[in-house]
Subunit: 331 residues, 4 copies
């Protein structure tokens, strides 16, 4: 199911080596300024190029196909895409019988019965997150002065991120990382108890990003070894400000007005140039596998803007829902 | 939004001290045997009673209101509820001006403008998970021979769970815990890339459970300090069995046929008998707060069956979706 | 799928001769006064009793199970039900092998494989519209001063409704009818182009009511023989008031502020006491069928309040959606 | 809301004079052959060109952007679009202050606050039905040997369609029409009681098509003047075949295996070359209006394939849902 959201709705499409990848955004309020340049600012942060990211140059220029007129959103569905260029598919086709460890090759085969596009990972490619970032830019505009900032705080178990990546690169290997995300100025009252909790919605979107292995809000896994007297955040004013923020800005699934804070774990890139083993379905035995092509040594490097986008999309949808059901009486 | 699912759809309702709590399940295939006794088996595991859980006795007898005829599901929506009994609301009403730390009192006030039912936590009560467990029983029947088992593996930072809880109890305090969940015999091919990934759906449901602070699949947060060469699970046969299971049984959002494995962090119960501080909205200053009533010293003790139910519901819905879209060509 | 709506969401459940029928309403704004008496006012209009309706007396007293506290909606899901009483199931069980003409007996068998509850039509019973009417009462409160009025304008092809029904009754037969519905004070701007058009949403709900065979908006089927110059409604002021109302108050799927107007066709009650023919699945031949029990000679008599409720639910959901996406900039 | 469907999901986008219009289709089973030529066959039937349709030549060549690989659907979302060419926007811009009677100009202004794209009707244009037809082609492939045929049976109140249109054309006017649609070989058991009834789903989609004013199934509005003894369709065999088909192939919202049959009313084209009156918002008075540009004298001429597509989409989604929930036990 490639659509997320109830009112602010985001659908992604495309394959890594097909004509284009992109996103449809529906439920976008009319009258918001939106131009290709606005999109490029976030998309550039996602782009390859830094040490440790794939040297493939994707000139990810966004094209707005619908939903904008005279520089403003119209209220009609937005369709934004980018043409795929600089494609070298031959790298991948030879892997057909050797499902790559850590990749979706095997599960795609099981689910799509051999019909899915194998070139560059097809629809499973991390390239599909381009659409998440484009939708994230729109979501931030819906959110107004809410500030969302994600940072890579650790890679390969080390806080010296550069060094950790260099070492992996030199060995044809890859490293994982940890990203922190903080959301400031989020109004109190967003989210729903149970299935529409802020944690439910953010985690659903964050786990849509390939390579994410875990998420924790506020105190997270540390909460498991804490006492209630220590974990409970003491309220200190009428705005609901708390002394500590073990709650991560969310109580009962609903934002309290305190900073929303969460951390995500990113696995090391599955594609590595080092030789690996896998089961060869044709030869019917475990064989060696050498993956060629261009890869990120640390996919987490490109992730902060994608994680921010996931949070922005979740919160924008919750904000519109909240406004729809509760706004009249609040104002 | 109190409904989860696309085909197998679960909606919960009720307040802790209202007439009843319960669940509606729609999209349930006809012809499955279902009786109140089937439900009670799982519901009893959720019930209070063990050392460290609230002494309130809830005779949680389930009543099937619709969707079952002559002992079999009919295909029409199931409505299952349990009447609330043994209610002592006076414990809670005096807390009106003192939002309890760690609770949803403050966020409920902001969202529902003072209209939400404060008695026993109202709709925010952990008691609402009764409906999740009842729906989980139905979901397991949809899943056939899929085996879902969750275990509390740690409480208060200690593997000696009993001791950890006793110590907290004696100090009027509470502890958190960690629950592991494993799903065996899950068919390959469930889940969707991106928004409908198995991790997205399970995490969305797991974060619907009050007090959950984090979730990780397979290697989880440990992946962040691993190398790709170490993290990639080597395939060893045509069924996609892997030597290790860092993936947690999921690649590209889709089950591989390997065991699905995840861990969740549970915070310490927010209600403790120890004196606490909070901001008194009437007195307009920080004041002392003494919470009376009956509380779980370790809410995580009652959680395994709830976590299993969340996983069962997510997988049952994904299984029906998969069957709808892909089944014909697979058979 | 037993749930309607995006923000204001309505789910019905129950069987005619099971323990209860009812409705869940989610997405209901907090702070609206709601009591059993409010519900009874509309429910009484739906009830049997008039000449031409079944003599079965359903003391349809509504019970609010959740979502109301101290006389006001809380914002949590509403569950409203009524216990079934005065049940005589033996009337129906003997029809098992003889699918009644005009009923869902045969299609239920095909869909639910023999597991559906046959007593009194089970989940297919017109009694399920009780829940629609209860939800309609809530929807009207969301809509504020919008006025929805439906009237039976014709039965059995005659405007003399009473006479038409008497004649059918005396022959053990039944008649259909036509209902007009008008919605006044509806704000301009509700609805969406295409899939969320006002006509799409109202018709989806109206065709959820058993026995409806057609719907037309504004000029309706008469439009097919009109000229554009005659059909186009001339605007006469800045509020968008039009001289004529062939549009039925809707242009491009969106309300214009003019009266929303539609008509629906109701078929004659399928259950008649007159002897009929049907295929006997056991005897494997066409046989005579005599339906006993209590029936409405003109089900359309009880329909106006149900049609009003359908319109109210559709418009309440569209109003909340509109407020969510567009409200901020409008105010 | 620009998305329809639960499993087979269709989202349309675009503006008449923007870069492109198109459709996204998600939930499409993998392994179905699909090429631009398949799409063109249906799209050509929708195209302008016949006497009475606009002389604007839209070379509606479809471009498949995603979801197809090596000539087969992959299971990933389909994106299909057509670039807009042959655009003359100047025709429309001068109408800014004079909302055209029968058009969405006024309601768009109210809903989108002046931001919607006015060129050629923008997102409200009948051109958006291009996407419905493209999705319809895909839906028919999902439906296998189900045959859907719609025919224009009447225009301007006359069965001599050609003559009726010629007369209107010569007077600068337009005419409405009536379309019949029949669906053969539809399996018994599709659809759900109440909100997911076949009538609910087909009508929701049919009213998404601009200019539709009414829909009736089987006996339709004629049922209102019939007796039950006359309207009830007698079953004549074990397959549920009925002697008559007043039910239109649907009982209790579910297909019976008999032909599904419905009729829709189409209003006369709103754009006519004849001079009209409207309220001029700038001059603040009723003024004359002359609409230039190219128009269909009878939009109903192009509608049959669009109506077929609407039915195909609704039934494809219901078929996948049915297969998901009920299939296992049926096979």
């Amino acid at each position: 199911m490639n659509t997320y959201g109830k009112l602010f709705r985001v659908s992604i499409f495309g394959e890594s080596h097909g004509p284009a990848v992109g996103v449809m955004v529906d439920g976008c309020p009319p009258g918001m300024p939106l131009a290709e340049d606005d999109l490029s600012r976030d998309l550039d942060r996602r782009r390859a190029g830094a040490r440790g990211t794939t040297p493939r140059k994707e000139y990810d220029l966004p094209e707005i196909i619908s939903g904008v007129y005279n520089g403003y959103t119209t209220g009609a569905p937005l369709l934004i895409l980018t043409r795929n260029t600089n494609i070298k598919s031959s790298d991948y086709l030879k892997l057909k019988d050797s499902p790559r460890p850590g990749h979706a090759d095997f599960t795609a085969l099981k689910k799509y019965l051999g019909y899915s596009d194998p070139r560059g990972g097809g629809h499973f490619s991390g390239r599909l997150t381009w659409g998440l970032v484009a939708a994230g830019t729109v979501a931030r505009k819906v959110l107004g002065n809410v500030e969302i900032t994600a940072t890579l705080v650790e890679a390969g178990g080390s806080e010296n991120i550069g060094e950790s990546i260099e070492r992996a690169l030199s060995e044809g290997d890859s490293v994982g990382g940890i990203i922190e995300c903080s959301v400031k100025n989020v109004p109190a009252g967003l989210g729903e108890p149970f299935f529409g909790s802020v944690e439910s919605e953010i985690s659903k979107l964050v786990f849509s990003i390939p390579a994410i292995k875990g998420i924790e809000f506020g105190s997270g896994f540390a909460a498991a070894s804490m006492r209630g007297s220590e974990h409970n955040d003491v309220f200190i004013d009428t705005d609901g400000t708390t002394k500590t923020n073990n709650a991560g800005g969310i109580n009962g699934g609903i934002t309290s007005g305190n900073e929303v804070y969460f951390r995500v774990a990113v696995k090391p890139t599955s594609s590595i140039s080092k030789e690996q083993k896998t089961f060869n379905l044709k030869k019917n035995k475990i064989s060696s596998l050498q993956i060629e092509g261009r890869h990120d040594a640390c996919i987490a490097l490109r992730m902060p803007v994608i994680v921010e986008s996931a949070a922005a999309i979740a919160l924008a949808d919750l904000m519109l829902q909240d406004r729809g059901i509760y706004a009249e009486r609040k104002s």
